[in-house]
């Protein structure tokens, strides 16, 4: 039993088809209570007021906006090294989800920043690097769309993902050097003493888990769609040959 078994599309379809209903259930079971708990059953923070509620969407979306790109980097590497089609299709399927997560983080951040900092947008390093990450997602998706041959597209977007990862990271540090920010530092960590209070932390962890499950669910769903689309085009081609 190794993970490479799932490089076989048939095996992947079977297992993911079995897992999907459970994942949907788990997502609903974590995301809905997490958000309801966060929105309605947490006290208002003194210095933030009701705007603190945005955190339950903002932080999970931002977390996954970055991590989805990392996942795309890993799957692109697997495709480039071991030529497993499912891996390339998973990277393709993840990109729009990551793009939307980035957009959610940016928009909820604007809603939060307006009452807190008195501005919708500020050229803060974190905000700036998220905007740049958004551009990288757009470029990556546009390249997938533009190339007709699926294998060529998978190769080229894989290379772009590798180079883009380096430059996205570089841009992050360049932006930090360029402008000191308004954005508060990291408040969630496993080892630091400084922490947000437990009443806010517990529902936040639940929503982060919920967003993670939501991502896995959507990813499996979209990868299955991509595999089916690939099969369909193969069938059409065979039809035309016959």
């Amino acid at each position: 039993m190794s993970i490479w078994e799932y490089a076989n599309p048939v095996k992947f379809m079977k297992t993911s088809g079995f897992l999907l209903p459970w994942l949907v259930g788990l997502t609903v079971l974590t995301l809905v209570p997490g958000l309801v708990w966060g929105f309605f059953f947490t006290p208002l923070a003194a210095e933030f007021g009701a705007t603190v509620k945005v955190i339950y969407v903002h932080v999970p979306a931002a977390t996954f906006a970055i991590n989805i790109w990392v996942m795309m980097l890993v799957t692109s590497l697997i495709w480039l090294i071991r030529r497993h089609h499912v891996s390339a299709l998973a990277a393709k399927a993840a990109a729009p989800i990551g793009m939307v997560m980035t957009l959610i983080a940016l928009i909820t951040g604007a809603f939060w920043g307006q009452p807190m900092w008195g501005t919708w947008w500020e050229w803060d390093p974190r905000l700036t690097s998220f905007l740049i990450l958004f551009l990288f997602y757009l470029g990556y998706m546009a390249l997938w769309e533009a190339i007709e041959n699926p294998d060529t597209a998978a190769d080229l977007t894989g290379v772009l993902c590798l180079v883009g990862s380096v430059f996205a990271l570089l841009s992050r540090y360049a932006a930090m050097f360029w402008n000191q920010g308004l954005h508060q530092g990291s408040t969630l960590s496993l080892d630091k003493e400084e922490h947000i209070a437990d009443v806010f932390w517990q529902p936040l962890v639940l929503t982060i888990v919920g967003f993670g499950l939501l991502f896995v669910t959507l990813l499996l769903l979209r990868t299955r769609t991509e595999i089916r689309a690939r099969r369909l085009s193969a069938l059409e081609q065979r039809e035309r040959m016959a």
Binding site: L143, T152, D155, V159, V163, F167, S171, A174
Partner: protein, 218 residues
């Protein structure tokens, strides 16, 4: 490799507009900016460094799609790929030729255009240094973008979407170097970062570009 470089340079010059077009575009950008932000010298001298860097960026972008497109169409790219010199070297030479035809003229002409924008006097030196150090990275990264889109019919707009985000670190450190230099602040950090990014880009990105071309020629 030298022969390849000379061939590309000759092609760029004889095709017309190799040197001139990028420069003319740069001049137009510099001319249009005061219309957009108003003619006050104080504002212009504050944003001059940024405008000059942005102009260099856009002028560089303008000629990127021609780096491989013509060679791809007439089949000479296939010959280059099977030539005894490695494809990585071919890509590097292409980038060098692009830099000589667009980057170098911009570096040389930038002080003239800086006069139009009232760049503060101490910043001239740093403008030259930053452009000289930064524009090679722009050409090499542009070659990567051109290699990705070489097989596409209408790759121009996609090319800018792919390449411009890669220019962000170079732009930040380049413009920051000019700003700090002009104000007499310490310049070591942006100087070292700009030079480091360019050096790493020249050393590593040609491998990615060559890989992309191999995929496109398959």
């Amino acid at each position: 490799m030298i022969a390849l470089l000379m061939r590309d340079l000759r092609l760029a010059i004889r095709a017309g507009g190799g040197f001139g077009l990028g420069l003319a575009f740069f001049l137009i950008v510099v001319t249009l900016v005061p219309f957009g932000v108003g003619p006050e010298g104080a504002i212009l001298s504050r944003i001059a460094a940024g405008i000059l860097w942005l102009g260099a960026l856009l002028a560089c972008l303008l000629s990127l799609d021609r780096i491989f497109a013509l060679d791809f169409e007439d089949g000479s790219l296939d010959l280059l790929a099977t030539a005894p010199i490695p494809l990585e070297a071919v890509v590097t030479m292409k980038a060098l030729a692009h830099w000589i035809t667009t980057g170098l003229p911009l570096v040389l002409a930038a002080p003239l255009f800086a006069v139009l924008l009232h760049l503060p006097t101490p910043a001239y030196f740093w403008l030259e240094v930053s452009l000289l150090l930064g524009t090679p990275a722009l050409s090499v990264l542009g070659t990567f973008g051109a290699a990705l889109t070489v097989g596409l019919k209408r790759g121009g707009l996609l090319l800018s979407l792919l390449v411009l985000p890669l220019y962000v670190p170079t732009l930040i450190f380049g413009a920051e170097l000019v700003r700090r230099g002009g104000e007499g602040m310490a310049v070591q950090v942006p100087l070292a970062m700009l030079a480091g990014i360019t050096a790493a880009t020249i050393a590593l990105v040609p491998f990615a570009s060559a890989a992309a071309i191999r995929v496109n020629l398959r």
